[in-house]
Symmetry: C2
Subunit: 107 residues, 2 copies
DNA sequence: CTGGATCCTTGAGGATACTG
DNA sequence: CAGTATCCTCAAGGATCCAG
């Protein structure tokens, strides 16, 4: 846990930014939300050029925070699907607003 | 401009995350919004232990993005006040939701 | 009081190759 | 296909001192 998280655990704004921190998390959440359910490789393709290491690390953190769910099917070749958890879905209003804000300001 | 910004300028979500990127920007915006108008030193105190270099760099970027306004009074000692611009105020719904989300999940 | 200037650290993120 | 394993870079961020 970083100083950032430790020192400001009492401020809701810090809490939110800690839960979804890093360069990619909001975008990953958005892509998963958009797709509903999405496979690892598809996600990777949409975020390209993200490194596998980066993507899998962020996914793990999001999973550890209970914001996304990882479903693994023991097939050959393997299949893994990601989706938002109930908890993760509580972020949808924020995701929607962020997306809309970008739309309106990006011209 | 980073690869992040360059490669994804077509996706609204990337646009938003680029406009308010970095570890501190959302929190700085929140603190300014909370205060309405706030002096440099007050802001620095609320974010402590943030480095002066970091704070002033982030403030400059936010100013360059037209999200905050910097008003300088030529007094001795100097006084500088920051506030949200019209543009910056369009982020308030997002800030409010982020704050609320933190409140509800931080127990 | 509001930063700028310097120097420095560190860890997030990336490139590439490899594996069950 | 869905990731690890390695190694590496670089720039955000920090500590400290200085200045108008």
């Amino acid at each position: 846990m970083s100083d950032f998280k430790r020192n400001y655990s009492s401020c809701p704004m810090y809490y939110t930014m800690s839960a979804v921190e890093g360069k990619w998390k909001w975008i990953i959440l958005w892509k998963i939300y958009e797709a509903g359910i999405i496979r690892y490789n598809k996600l990777w393709g949409e975020l390209n050029p993200i490194a596998h290491k980066t993507l899998s690390a962020q996914l793990k953190e999001l999973e550890a925070s209970s914001l996304i769910h990882r479903e693994q099917y023991n097939e050959v070749p393997p299949r893994v699907e990601y989706s938002l958890t109930e908890e993760g879905r509580t972020l949808i209003p924020i995701l929607e607003l962020m997306y809309q804000w970008g739309q309106e300001h990006m011209k």
